[in-house]
Amino acid sequence: MKNFYNFKVDNIKGISAQEKEFRNKELDLFSKNGFPNKREEAWKFTDLNTILSKNFANISNDYVSLKEKKFEFIKEFDHNYLYVLDGKLVSNEFKFEDKNKVLIKEYDYKKQIPVRNQNSLNLLNNALATGGYYIEITKDYKLKKPLVIYNQFSESIKEQIVSYKNSLILNENSELTIINYTDTNSKNNFFVNSFDYFKLKKDSYLKNIFINKDRCNCYFHNYLKSDLEQNTNLDNYILSTGLKFNKIDIEINLNEENAKSSIFSALSLGREEHQEIKSSINHNFKNCQSYQKIKNVLNDKSRGVYQGKIFVKQEAQKTDAYQLSKALLLNDNAEFDAKPELEIYADDVKCSHGSTSGSIDLNSIHYLKSRGIPEKEAFQMLINGFLSEILEKLPEDDLKKFLTQKIGRQINGC
């Protein structure tokens, strides 16, 4: 078969010989198997290799970023921001915060962060990543306003792969709400392969939200690794609708006592969108909690996938882990696949999971219609109701309003 990609480490400028050698090694490892297909357990439901080969003629990594691009500022709520173009940090502003509390610099590629389940896209990221940011929040500092990361991509990018790495360190007793805001409506097809690393030190609290502004024709893969220390809290909200292909692979390591993590997702998908959430929650210490609730509404030819794994180590007694995925299928061409997995080696635990998928309850529709509500509206009401459970969990009033509105528009749009 003809290869539909052509990656070269030489396209990356200004790296040492040593780094070049490392990157070439990673690229060789990637090339052995290429893009993942269904034979890999982590991609059981998605043949990325086929999807990409159908939609791309030749993916390369030799894109050129535009010098300057305007972005539309969110007015609905006050926030700090980071402006990132093609994964490279361009500017930032923290006008609501005290000075010298937030450290921002470019990502340091000398440090390697190992991941639990190596996958070929991580190898590719290791080989090709450039740019990216490093944020560190000072001890005992709680940010007053959320931080929005405006992720934009140059319009010239087409048939290319953009790779970068970010990392975020929360020092002891600090707090942050971060919004990953993907702002692109490109009609061009390109692939974004990113890697994020969160480190939560004792007593810190991080809320992490994924959302995007527009529909676009891009393919995203994000691997998010996080390490949690004692008494920390990590809440993830995945609300990114409208992307042609999106897979978020979340690895959460609960390494010390009383660490808590959650993943909430409300997605309303249409057209030929493909959204996939893969989680692997590793209970490595006793008395930790994890919670996952995934809700998908699927229309047209869309596809929702949830692969969640809870792993409980032998010493992780008194674990409390919960996993629920629910899907509403509105069209026979839509598909929902789930693999909620439990791997448990400790006996004094409370672990459960549930998964349902089905159609909208026609009795409820009938009930609403009999009270004078038109059918279309009745459907929307029920869909709203279905997703509202997640939306209610969103943090902070202004932000919640903004996000709810955004999702509301997406529901009504499809």
Partner: protein, 478 residues
């Protein structure tokens, strides 16, 4: 372990060996072995060709490696693929002709082959190593037109039925172990229920591995024609040996319009000793096809034995309104490993499936539920409900759940729930308080935990299974 030790070991009461003279095939897996098996069974040419086709396909296949329980590499050239008691080489025409030692064996196992003495109304096909040694109640069944015989006999006497259905559910080249079975299968049961007939008694096969260094490869084929009903039971035991023995069976069920098949298994192969030495590798392929409208296939299994159990009794729901059910109890203790579950594939409209799985893990065992529920695009108004619960006893064992759920139809509903817990301390305390000792209490609670599945078993089996549940967990608490 020395033979004497084995005799003294009372934990596994079926661990004895029977001293009978054997006829064996040449050692190893080769075309010669397959020709030997086919020849000794006096099979027609088409059967030999079928086997050889499977053997050729096997050469291109690799052993699967995705499963959780890993096992040392099996040397397929070091096994005997056919072993039969010498006295059975000409199939006995009546029970009086069976080697008394074999009769004694089955008596010890509690399987009555003597028709006069048995009361419980079950027709038995007894398979000893590679051959079927006796089938009871043939006459009574023949009157109704029911065919219940060994598969070797069916190949000779009912070639049309065998040709039509053999390999129609598990294709010749399905996966490694299924294909291996297709190439070298030695015996097994064949059941055909004619249209509009309700089988008057439970049909049963009892499998026994006796000879050492042999693998058992049996093949069962059950066909329920339109409007018929059959309940089929399967039991298995093996002597204690410190070598691992391979058991790779294929079971195919076909249910036509309005037919129902109920298939129950109590699997009690030798699980190995407490250090994980010896035991049976139970790598079995079981699959049923609900071909006709309103047909139903129900699998019930109690898995307590085997060093490694690796099986997924599945239902392909092709006919509209067909129903698939799967009830399972899997108990693992010491070093046992189980990777079991089911597949429900909904193809027809209004198809329903139900999965109840109970896993109990003790000692250093690993117990896994792995299942697939798939609703295809055209299977409108289909329904699935899955419940899998795991119970952990002690902190050295593992319990895992991996369900695969695929829904591609907007009018169908799939529900799945699973929990993992340990035995409730309060319940234990309550039982202790009322004078039950720890082991009795655990057995009572576990039996309660498994009740939904035990209820599905035919009465005689349910009693045996309940005892088995208690025995399997002896010494695991306290």
């Amino acid at each position: 372990m020395k033979t004497e030790d084995l005799k003294n070991n009372k934990d596994y009461k079926y661990g004895f060996t029977t001293d009978v003279e054997n006829i064996r095939s040449p050692k190893g897996l080769s075309e010669e072995t397959i020709r030997f098996i086919s020849n000794i069974k006096k099979e027609p040419k088409w059967m030999l060709e079928w086997r050889l086709k499977a053997f050729n396909r096997l050469k291109a296949l690799k052993e699967p490696d995705w499963q959780k329980p890993k096992y040392p590499k099996i040397n397929y050239q070091d096994l005997y693929y056919y072993s039969a008691p010498k006295s059975a080489s000409d199939k006995p025409k009546s029970l009086g002709e069976i080697d008394p030692k074999i009769l004694e064996t089955y008596k010890k196992l509690g399987i009555p082959l003597d028709e006069q003495k048995r009361l419980n109304g079950i027709a038995v096909d007894a398979v000893f190593d590679s051959v079927s040694v006796a089938t009871t109640f043939k006459d009574e069944l023949t009157k109704k037109g029911i065919i219940f015989c060994s598969i070797s006999e069916a190949i000779q006497k009912h070639p049309d039925l065998v040709k039509k259905y053999l390999g129609s559910v598990i294709p010749l080249s399905d996966h490694y172990f299924a294909t291996l079975n297709s190439a070298v299968f030695t015996d097994g049961s064949f059941v055909y229920i004619p249209p509009n007939t309700k089988c008057p008694m439970e049909l049963s096969t009892y499998f026994r591995i006796n000879a050492s260094e042999t693998g058992q490869f049996e093949r069962t084929l059950i066909i329920a024609d339109k409007g018929s009903y059959v309940s089929y039971l399967e039991g298995c035991t093996a002597p204690m040996r410190d070598e691992n023995q391979l058991h790779a069976a294929n079971v195919e069920l076909v249910a036509l319009d309005d037919a129902e098949i109920k298939y129950s298994t109590v699997q009690n192969w030798y699980p190995g000793d407490e250090n994980g030495v010896g035991g049976i590798y139970n790598f079995v392929t079981k699959r049923g096809a609900c071909r006709g409208k309103n047909s139903k296939i129900s699998w019930t299994q109690v898995e307590t034995g085997s060093a490694i159990t690796w099986k997924y009794p599945s239902c392909i729901l092709q006919g509209d309104n067909s129903v698939g059910e799967f009830y399972s109890i899997a108990i693992t203790n010491n070093h046992q490993k189980a990777d079991t579950g089911t597949k429900m594939i909904h193809l027809g409209k209004n198809t329903k499936s139900k999965i109840i799985s109970k896993g109990i893990s003790a000692g250093k065992a690993d117990n896994m539920y792995r299942g697939l529920v798939e609703v295809k695009n055209k299977a409108s108004n289909s329904r699935n409900y899955t419940q899998c619960d795991s119970l952990l006893m002690g902190n050295k064992c593992g319990a895992h759940t991996i369900p695969y759920i695929k829904n591609n139809n907007s009018t169908s509903t799939i529900e799945h729930e699973a929990t993992t817990t340990k035995i409730n301390e309060e319940q234990l305390y309550y039982c202790n308080q009322r004078g039950l000792d720890q082991e009795e209490a655990v057995s009572l609670i576990v039996n309660g935990f498994c009740k939904e599945v035990l209820q599905q078993l035919p009465m005689e089996f349910a009693v045996e299974a309940q005892k088995l549940v208690a025995i399997s967990l002896e010494g695991s608490v306290g």
